[in-house]
């Protein structure tokens, strides 16, 4: 049986703004295997964010099928969707979306609070390990305002990783970063991918997309192309796809 991380078939989404209809997605289909590192490109307004929000179970399609980890999303009620977002997916927002009144450590620990059953001490330890992983071990008690854009982005990445999700979704994670910070972030993503996490990221920049194994191009709400990047050997994907269980980040990190 197909053990893909993500299976998407004929996804459609139309926004209604009064009289005007905006067809953001017009029938999108693809599979993403476990362990893949996929970049999604496309012009502005082509539907990339709409697609990512659906992959992240933050939004629901009007039509079409979406299976994550073999679970049919349309069959899940809202509480189960919340649990999927909490445990299977790490989502990095373009706008970071950190809680301004909480420290970096508290922001990173937040998903663990909603996971439940984890004592405060353990939550803080795990959040600290994630912040150290993204190179912010010295900034645990800083509030978002006291951090640079790149540092805030890394806090957002640490928060997405803290529940050790099998799937990391990032919508233009380097959109607000300079080229130096972007390269650092990509190095981190590649490292995480090597450890077995499936990564899907949206980007405008071809240099960033170069780091991925596979590039999906979206145009006018449809997949225009789906190609593997040259340097990567196809065997790499196949090998990664062979990994069946969700990676245990804690064990590796």
């Amino acid at each position: 049986m197909n053990d893909a991380m993500i299976q998407v078939r004929n996804l459609r989404k139309t926004y209604h703004m009064g009289e005007i209809e905006v067809k953001a997605l017009r029938g999108v289909s693809f599979d993403i295997q476990r362990g893949e590192f996929v970049a999604i490109m496309g012009p502005s307004g082509s539907g990339k964010s709409t697609l990512m929000n659906m992959l992240g179970c933050l939004d629901t399609p009007d039509e079409g099928q979406y299976l994550i980890d073999g679970l049919a999303v349309e069959k899940l009620d809202r509480d189960m969707l919340a649990a999927v977002r909490n445990r299977k997916i790490g989502f990095v927002f373009q706008q970071f979306n950190l809680l301004a009144r909480q420290t970096a450590l508290e922001n990173v620990a937040l998903p663990l609070v909603y996971q439940g059953g984890i004592p405060l001490k353990e939550r803080m330890e795990r959040a600290q390990r994630m912040l150290e992983l993204v190179g912010l071990g010295e900034r645990l008690d800083h509030r978002p305002k006291q951090l640079s854009g790149g540092q805030q982005q890394r806090v957002a990445i640490a928060r997405a990783l803290v529940t050790e999700p099998a799937l990391l979704l990032a919508d233009e994670p380097t959109g607000n970063l300079d080229s130096r910070a972007s390269e650092d972030a990509m190095a981190l993503f590649k490292e995480l991918n090597k450890r077995g996490i499936t990564i899907v990221l949206v980007t405008h920049e071809p240099d960033i997309a170069e780091h991925a194994q596979r590039v999906l191009t979206v145009r006018d709400g449809m997949i225009a192309s789906d190609k593997l990047n040259q340097p990567q050997a196809p065997s790499r994907v196949a090998q990664a796809a062979g990994a069946t269980s969700a990676p245990a980040l804690g064990g590796i990190l």
């Binding site: 049986m1 933050l58 073999g70 049919a72 919340a82 809680l99 996971q115 439940g116 405008h204």
Partner: protein, 457 residues
Amino acid sequence: MSAAEQALLSHEQPSILPELAPIDESSIDPQRMAAKLAALQEGGISFIETLSIALKSLTANKLRSLLTALGIIIGVAAVVALMAIGQGSQSSITASIAANGANRLTIRSGASNSGGIRGAIGGSQTLTIKDAEALKKPNNAPSISAVSPEYNGNAQLVAGSQNTNASVIGVEPAYTIVNNVSVAQGSFISDDDNTYTNSVVVLGANVAKTLFPTGDPIGQKVRIAGQQFEVVGVLTAKGGSGFGSTDDAVMIPLTTAQRKLFGGKALNGAKLVSSIAVQAKDENSIDQAISEATLTLRESHKLPMDGSADDFSIINQQDILESINETTQTLTIFLGAIAGISLFVGGIGIMNIMLVSVRERTREIGLRKAVGAREGDILLQFMLEALIISIAGALIGLLIGLAIAYGVSAAGLIQAQPSAGSAVLAMGFAMAIGLFFGIMPARSAARLDPIESLRYD
């Protein structure tokens, strides 16, 4: 299209997009599926964690939280203080009436009005000392154990450099029995004092204190309306409210009051009295005493026994008590209603601020949902915020209400009686208000769409 994207496109190989068939979801192993779903339903944030999130967001904005709770604080403080003061004044009135003698009947001139409390004021005086003599005869009124004719007036009292105004009551010795008073010092007015119209006076406890702040009053001279009297006794203090209290009165012989002091008039050769207080043998003979007194007085006033109206009225202590209880009950309900309205308004204040707070925190709510908060978690968080505000407000209000009650008591105004009942009522009501007015904002928060909320600014 940017130059970078164009560059990418030019290098792009022709992509082969395979046709992907729809997934046959019925082919998915139902057992594995069920196991995964069950795993998703486990866990979740605990009540304690949600409570701590609610507390944190309230303490992050302490002034606003306090102001939000203000309506509840004032409402509960008002309920508790007003109830305590109301209860206190009611029981002090009740106690002073009981202290006057529960089996006492008061007979006044004039027909009773519908309220039954007071005879017509200014009606012609019909009670004389002869009526009192008639009531004293055991054959006439066997259920009456004591008869105390009284003659009241007000006068200025002067002793040395001290002076005061007091009610001056002309009495016979039976006064002590009927009105349940005792002498602390010296002796009471005697029969001899009445026989010889002696100028002697017995002082109520407060009057004694006012006129003789330091020395012993017994044997001292007091001028009452310009005439000299000798103090022969001081009454034991009764305390309680001033309602009918003997503490603020002085007693002189009835005959002295009638002849020397107030120049009492006579009717058919018998001296008039202001009122006659009688004591029934016991609680069970009050009704019997009333009918005996009525018969005796009608006979004495030569009224026909044909059911025509009496020219006097008999007032029962029990009637007074009931009527006072009725009045204070109405007052308590009235005060309670006002306090209830202020609690309700306080609840609207909570709802208002909570709605603003939900709107302000839309992005935060969206983020919490995006990282895994369920609708119930958000609902509980905001319900708890509203509840904490109302409960904390009620507690603060309770303390303030008690402080007011004790302050009023300490100032000697009224012995307030805070009751656990009113505290529980106010707290329960405040909590219900928190629940009632918290549910709407909490639901609107819980129902927010995560993506819409994250886009909100």
